[in-house]
């Protein structure tokens, strides 16, 4: 029996108007999470879906009491969360097992911290190990185990303390496809049979199918700052079938949701997917190989110039975290249009695909200088100077008016990669200078 879904009972967890910001070096605040509301009722699995930088992991850490919110309220079973609460435990992306403890000792750790009698620690630890399918591995060290087995230890360690809420931070993303699927199925089986001592689950993921497969409700997160874009109920009965048309429909719907243009962003600037405007746009670190790779894939059969994002994601075995930045960069360069969950090549995109190497570089240079203000700016500065040399720090300083030091570095790294490919300018890492020289 799954834990009963009783919407009338007080929620396990209530999150109201949570915001989190970090101080920037210049004294201002960097907002990473804004105005998030969330309720978790007994018997529910709630998914937090978004790409990296959308603040979903930050929200999970706030709920776990590992950091504190800048604004808003966190309520667990009626009392505010201040510090790690008893009854909330967590499964980590990279397992976070103590390499010097055996499987048994790793699982028992949380009980020892509670200072339970040894006999009780022993019974409960063995029971958890048994439940999660680890018997026989008690005396093994984590390094002896495969990734899947390690994550099972992570689950056993989280369950042994009998938490009310289980927090899962991308628990399957470090595993190979096959292992991840086995673990998901095992988890859902235990959950639907009600054999785990937990009442509710919050799952952070960037995998749309995983969210639809496991969750009763999915919160879709957007970036800059992190916030909830929409909330989607998943009412399909468990166990769910990935090939079921209504399953596919839901996945498609979320794809559209996640690639929709931000409301209010000015059209025509073409950097609307990336925060900031003009030369102050934050650019993603996408290589020219990824760009031409995706262009060619979409141009070729079976897509023939227009591809459904979920299909091409499956076809290319790309996570949305990898796919979206590439697609959005193509859109920024006007190589493609991103609309309604589809990626459609423009004329420039098709011309690029049909061209030979040198011609490709020329097309890329044209699009880059026309549609990426920062690239045009760097080229202009270099052209204007008689020496045709400019220090990197000059542009970093300019960018830091709009963004943090870290994102400025990342943006400049991206532009250096594209500029080098298009041979619009050269860059010397040793001396940290942009030049117009073409190395012989």
């Amino acid at each position: 029996m799954p834990p009963s879904t009783d919407m009338n009972a007080a929620p396990l967890l209530r999150v109201k108007g949570i915001a989190k910001s970090f101080p920037k070096p210049d004294g201002q605040e960097l907002l990473v999470l804004e105005g998030v509301n969330l309720q978790l009722a007994a018997g529910q699995i709630v998914g937090l879906l978004g790409r990296s930088g959308s603040g979903k992991s930050t929200l999970l850490r706030l709920i776990a009491g590992l950091t504190e919110p800048s604004h808003g309220e966190l309520n667990y079973l009626g009392s505010p969360v201040d510090g790690p609460a008893a009854g909330i435990s967590m499964v980590f992306q990279s397992f976070a097992l103590f390499p010097w403890l055996t499987v048994y000792e790793n699982v028992a750790l949380g009980l020892e911290a509670q200072r339970l009698p040894r006999a009780e620690i022993r019974t409960r630890t063995l029971a958890a190990i048994d439940l999660i399918g680890l018997d026989g591995f008690e005396s093994a060290y984590p390094r002896e185990l495969s990734g899947g087995m390690r994550q099972r230890v992570g689950f056993a360690r989280a369950l042994v303390v009998h938490p009310n809420i289980l927090l899962m931070d991308e628990p399957f993303s470090a595993l190979d496809v096959l292992t991840a699927e086995t673990l998901r199925t095992d988890f859902l089986d235990l959950w639907s049979e009600g054999r785990m001592p937990i009442k509710g689950v919050i799952l952070v993921t960037h995998n749309i199918e995983e969210a639809v497969l496991m969750c009763d409700r999915v919160l879709v997160f957007g970036s800059n700052p992190g916030r909830v874009l929409s909330e989607i109920e998943v009412t399909l009965p468990q166990p769910r079938d990935r090939l079921d048309p209504s399953f596919r429909e839901l996945v498609e719907k979320i794809y559209v949701e996640m690639t929709a243009r931000t409301v209010g962003a000015q059209a025509g600037a073409r950097t609307e997917f990336f925060p900031g405007q003009g030369i102050g746009s934050v650019l993603p670190h996408v290589s020219s190989n990824e760009l031409s790779g995706l262009l060619e894939a979409v141009a070729a059969a079976p897509y023939n110039g227009s591809a459904d994002l979920p299909k091409i994601a499956t076809g290319l075995q790309m996570e949305i975290d990898e796919l979206f930045p590439v697609a959005e960069t193509l859109q920024m360069l006007r190589f493609a249009e991103l609309e309604g969950g589809d990626l459609k090549l423009t004329e420039a995109g098709l011309a690029f695909c049909n061209a030979a190497q040198d011609e490709r570089k020329r097309i890329f240079a044209r699009q880059l200088l026309t549609y990426v203000p920062l690239a045009a700016h760097i080229r202009r500065v270099l052209d204007e100077r008689t020496s045709h040399v400019a220090r990197k720090s000059r542009f970093i300083d300019e960018l830091e008016d709009f963004m943090t030091e870290e994102t400025a570095e990342q943006t400049l790294r991206a532009i250096v990669g594209w500029g080098r490919y298009a041979e619009v300018f050269a860059y010397e890492d040793e001396s940290a200078r942009f030049t117009l020289e073409n190395p012989a």
Partner: protein, 578 residues
């Protein structure tokens, strides 16, 4: 399985006592005897040292060796306590770290012999008239040669505890005490163990100076290998020197096999990066301890102690987060107070130093010390360059041949641990006998013990070079000088720099011993800052000791800051293969 059936009746004996247990028992008993032997006479009055003077009879050497080793390990234990507290304090309180870490950086560069001369009188006065006071002074001197790099390594580890492990610890409500013993100490252990090994080597180097203390009119010779050598040198007894060298070699071999090899092999499990398939280094002693019940028993006891202490301690839950604003306000207040106190102390210290410099130091003197410093600097630079020229090609050659490396690497590490100053008497004897120039021929002694760091780091670098890179070079038929320039040298660069930094630091320290050497009443002296400090120490001239040490400190710190550190980062950035 069949065999297990047959021995059924005696199964319990087999299970309880293994062959390894018997071996372990012998080792433990020997350790107890050794401890009792070595600690005898600690509380005896000082006059007893005169009553039973040191003897050059080799029969006494086992006892002397035991006492020296005990001093070394006492100092090591103290260093460990210091490390765990000092580094933890610095890591937990950013405020304290602002003072503690630069302090540690400077202390690390102060020539170790400087501490002996300055502190010996203080320690002798703690337990007046007893041998114990002199023991304290000697142990403290050894401690100062061991503690700093250990503390640094542990501080680094504490700062780099993986976030997810720290979060897991918080999530499962580990108390700070449990967190320390279950997460932070285990995480820092591998790096700390390597540094303990390095520290032991450093300690041996100065044990000679520490045991036979003579500062001005105070002169004490504690029974030990160090004083034995000092006496042998004073009496020009080459045979005795030979016996001492043999004894040291045996002692180092024994603790290396019984303590450090097993430790290195054991701490392998504490490494967080877990690539499967990398075999931990083997150690027969560890196998013995594992198969006997020794290690199992000890770790059980240790964890029981951690559990018990953490239960006995009041369970302090994680500090309640107050509002961020309030915390920041109070934190700013404390910051200001802390800054004021630190500035005040610094001002006081500066005034004291300035007074001494102005009152007692002339400009000419400063110039002299500066020139001597440059002389020693020139020696260090030339020696490191020469040693690199010799050892880098050899190291690369060895490192690319795994089977040779397997044999040579432990030998190089052993040579680095061997106190090279034991060989000094031989060198001095040769210089005197051959009428050689001390300015030139004393110099190699400075690098005698430290050059091995270059060798074994380069070996490690060459062995770590990806086989694919080497095959690619082979495939492109890159050979000769081009191969060295484009493949081998860049490949070992970060490792070489690490080794050279250690070698250079060690050479500065060694200059105090190397630039002024005795053979009986003959003294051989080279011009340099080391000789300056050494003769000031013999004369008990505090003013000159302080001046010399301060100058050397300045030299070492600035070379580290302006040369080695940038070079290290450059090599890391440019040549790290990962």
């Amino acid at each position: 399985m069949l065999r297990a059936h047959r021995t059924h009746h005696f199964g319990f004996i087999r299970e309880f006592v293994t062959r390894w247990d018997a071996l372990a028992l012998v080792v433990v008993l020997a350790l107890v005897v050794f401890l009792a032997e070595a600690s005898r006479g600690l509380l005896a009055p000082l006059s007893q040292l005169d009553a039973t003077p040191l003897s050059l009879n080799p029969a006494h050497l086992p006892e002397y060796a035991a006492r020296t080793t005990l001093r070394m390990f006492t100092a090591l234990a103290l260093s460990l306590v210091f490390t765990l507290s000092y580094a933890t304090w610095a890591a937990k309180s950013p405020r304290a770290a602002r003072v503690l870490i630069p302090l540690l950086d400077i202390l690390q560069s102060v020539p170790i012999l400087g501490f002996i001369s300055i502190t010996v009188v203080f320690f002798m006065s703690l337990v007046p008239g007893r041998v114990l006071g002199a023991e304290f002074a000697a142990i403290f001197a050894i401690f100062t040669s061991q503690a700093w790099n250990m503390a640094f390594s542990f501080y680094q580890s504490l700062r780099t505890v993986p976030t997810e492990l720290a979060e897991a610890a918080a999530c499962f409500h580990l108390t700070p005490w449990m967190r320390f013993w279950q997460l932070e100490v285990p995480f820092g252990l591998p790096a700390l163990t390597w540094n303990m090994m390095m520290s032991m080597s450093g300690g041996w180097f100065f044990v000679v100076a520490a045991e036979s203390i003579s500062v001005g009119h105070t002169s004490v010779a504690l029974p030990g290998v160090g004083s034995y050598i000092a006496l042998a040198i004073a009496q020009r007894n080459l045979h005795a020197v030979g016996w001492a060298i043999t004894t040291m070699a045996v002692v180092i071999l024994v603790y290396d096999q019984l303590l450090f090899r097993p430790l290195i092999s054991w701490v392998d499990r504490f490494r967080v990066e877990q690539e499967p398939g990398t075999e931990p280094p083997a150690s027969w002693a560890l196998t013995m301890m594992r198969r006997s019940h020794l290690i199992g028993g000890l770790t059980t006891m240790f964890y029981a102690a951690v559990r018990w202490t953490s239960w006995a301690l009041p369970s302090r839950p994680a500090p309640q987060p107050r509002s961020a604003a309030a915390r920041e306000r109070s934190s700013r207040g404390w910051d200001a107070l802390w800054l004021i106190v630190a500035l005040l102390l610094a001002a006081l210290a500066l005034r004291r130093l300035a007074l001494m410099l102005i009152e007692q130091t002339s400009l000419a003197e400063l110039r002299e010390v500066g020139t001597l410093g440059l002389l020693t600097l020139a020696r260090v630079v030339v020696l490191i360059a020469l040693a690199s020229l010799v050892w880098v090609p050899i190291g690369v050659w060895i490192g690319l041949r795994p089977r040779v490396a397997q044999v040579v690497q432990p030998i190089a590490q052993f040579l680095a641990a061997f106190p090279a100053n034991l060989l000094f008497p031989l060198a001095v004897y040769l210089i005197v006998a051959g009428h050689l120039s001390p300015n030139l021929w004393l110099s190699p002694l400075m690098i005698l013990g430290t050059q091995w760091y270059i060798l074994f780091n380069v070996i490690a670098g060459a062995s770590a070079m990806p086989a694919e890179l080497r095959r690619a070079a082979l495939n492109l038929r890159v050979s000769g000088w081009l191969w060295w320039r484009r493949v081998a040298l860049p490949g070992v660069m970060p490792y070489f720099v690490t080794g050279a930094i250690t070698a250079s630091g060690g050479s500065w320290n060694a200059s105090i011993v190397a630039e002024l050497a005795n053979w009986g009443s003959t003294q051989v002296r080279a011009h340099g800052l080391g000789a300056y400090i050494a003769s000031a120490t013999v004369a008990g001239d505090y003013h000159h000791i302080v001046l010399g040490i301060a100058t050397m400190c300045l030299f070492v710190v600035s070379i580290n800051r302006w040369f080695w550190r940038p070079l290290y980062y450059y090599a890391e950035r440019r040549y790290r293969l990962s």
